[in-house]
Amino acid sequence: MQVYLPIAEMSVNALLVLGMGGLVGFLSGMFGVGGGFLMTPLLIFIGVPPAVAVGTQANQLVAASVSGVLAHWRRGNVDVKLGVVMLIGGVIGTALGVWIFGVLQRLGQIDIAISLSYVFFLGTIGGMMMLESARAIIRRRAPTAKRGKLHRHIWLHGLPFKMRFHRSKLYISALLPAGIGVVGGILVAIMGIGGGFLLVPAMIYLLNMPAGLVAGTSLFQIIFTTAAATLLQAATNHTVDAMLALLLLVGGVIGAQFGTRIGSRIPGEQARLMLATIVVAVALKLAWDLFAPPLDVHSLTMGVV
């Protein structure tokens, strides 16, 4: 069944897109990640213009994070105050990112910028996760102690504007969560991902937040950064395809439900190793595309850019 995408201006097989949404939703439910980092490259792979893929993905992520945050909210795992401070930074970062996106688009460098940021972030995070989970599996026999969280004091904790976050039992500079938010926002705008894979470790290691609150709080602020990204991309770059977002959403929601159930049966380290393998594979594929000679060294853009 073919469906015409009005903004991407192309016709795609609806079942294929639903299936992609389902697969990515399945993986995101299984591993508890947003899945944007898989979806954007997949969309580009089937021929959706990178700019539209990124803009639409932001829209889809709004829905994914809303449905994800509900479960955390019910269990009281959201630190709203910290989330709000983060999202102030997040919205600033998004605006900055959308602006950078537009500039790069006009310069003709957006595709390579998207690929490079993917290779860099996915390669780094994926590699680290892979090492860490491999080590954890080797040490399997050891008692299932949580990863040792060191409450170290580094220069970051000496920043001004200290604020008390009761829910997380933290007394830290507001600049820290806001700064993390800014980075997350830029990622949403340029890469079309929620940025959870970067926010979660940053919140654990830089903010020393209680692990139970991290996922809910990061999802909470991702709702707002992705919403801001959708709005700004739609308003300035015209790159949000509501039709495509709808298809991805339906597939993603269904896939996520199955993924969550399967995921609960897989041991944590193994799940992390699998996820890390996928992340690294995507990074390697994109890196390969950057260095391999292209099919055609010339490309064409019609209309005023």
């Binding site: 069944m1 073919q2 469906v3 015409y4 995408l5 009005p6 903004i7 201006e9 192309m10 016709s11 829209n59 889809q60 709004v62 829905a63 994914a64 994070s65 809303v66 449905s67 994800g68 945050v69 509900l70 479960a71 003709g108 460098q109 595709d111 390579i112 490079l116 709702i223 919403a227 959708t230 709005l231 700004l232 991309q233 739609a234 308003a235 300035t236 015209h238 949000v240 509501a242 039709m243 977002a245 709808l246 959403l249 929601v253 439900q257 950057l290 260095f291 391999a292 000679p293 292209p294 055609d296 060294v297 010339h298 490309s299 064409l300 853009t301 019609m302 209309g303 005023v304 850019v305």
Partner: protein, 264 residues
């Protein structure tokens, strides 16, 4: 649009039926058409003047048919709306392939296809092809960048054509116009799913002894219709509203999904 003339009524009937492409019927009409259309050496029309891009659009065919006042060759040239184009060239930078050069073309047809009754080079001379801009190689595509040398001009022009052909919107091969008898001709014009929207010109040329003796231009509109058109219009003209609706829709969808699967 077509000027009212003798036989226009019958042509109109034929236009309605052309979509159904009843060959037998066309044959019957051919007899009547041939006797009534005296004044014009060439008359042609399309089975439809509107290509509607709906949500289920996967490309379409439009039948062009017409009649001549005697033997001769027919060439059909379909040109999409002209618009600016940017051609970029990648080069290796630190081992990566990166866009390093951009060339602007101010007026490039967004769509172009040709159909003829015989291979082009057999019916007209090269000069005529160039004068009338028949055939992809003959298209006038001049880069705006005056600093380009002629070799680079040719390179970017070819790149534009190659990319357009790969996208299927510059047809690399010449389609065939088939004659039914001496006078009645028809051809199927194919438009792919990614056909650019806008006002198209469909030009029918009658060629005798290597010269164009008669020509007729028919408009064709390619337009988004229905839901996809509304989405596109809103995204273009009321982008803020569109963005707000997209966000609200996503929030509603996510909320519904989260609530629906709560018990499962």
């Amino acid at each position: 649009m077509r000027v009212p003339r003798l036989g226009a009524g019958r042509l109109w009937v034929a236009r309605g039926l052309g979509g159904v492409a009843g060959l037998a019927l066309a044959g019957v009409l051919a007899v009547t058409l041939a006797t009534t259309v005296w004044a014009q050496q060439l008359v042609a029309d399309l089975s439809s003047h509107l290509i509607a891009i709906t949500t289920g659009f996967t490309g379409t065919e439009v039948v062009l048919f017409g009649t001549t006042d005697g033997a001769g060759d027919v060439a059909i040239v379909v040109t999409g709306p002209k618009m600016p184009a940017l051609v970029r060239r990648k080069e290796r930078v630190l081992g990566m392939w990166m866009n390093t050069r951009t060339v602007h073309f101010s007026q490039a047809p967004s769509f172009y296809s040709v159909a003829t009754s015989r291979p082009l080079d057999q019916i007209v001379s090269r000069t005529l092809l160039e004068r009338q801009q028949i055939g992809v190689p003959q298209l006038t595509l001049a880069p705006q960048d005056s600093a380009l040398d002629s070799r680079e001009q040719a390179e970017f022009r070819e790149a534009l054509i190659r990319n357009k052909q790969r996208a299927g919107v510059y047809t690399p091969t010449t389609g065939t116009v088939s004659f039914l008898g001496d006078r009645l001709f028809r051809t199927n014009l194919y438009f792919p799913a990614n056909v650019p929207t806008g006002l198209y010109n469909v030009e029918a040329l009658l060629i005798r002894n290597g010269e164009v003796v008669s020509a007729q231009t028919t408009p064709l509109v390619v337009s988004k219709i229905g839901f996809s058109a509304e989405v596109y219009d809103m995204a273009r003209h009321r982008p803020i509203t569109y963005g707000v609706l997209a966000v609200l829709g996503a929030v509603a969808a996510g909320w519904t999904a989260g609530a629906a699967f709560r018990r499962v």
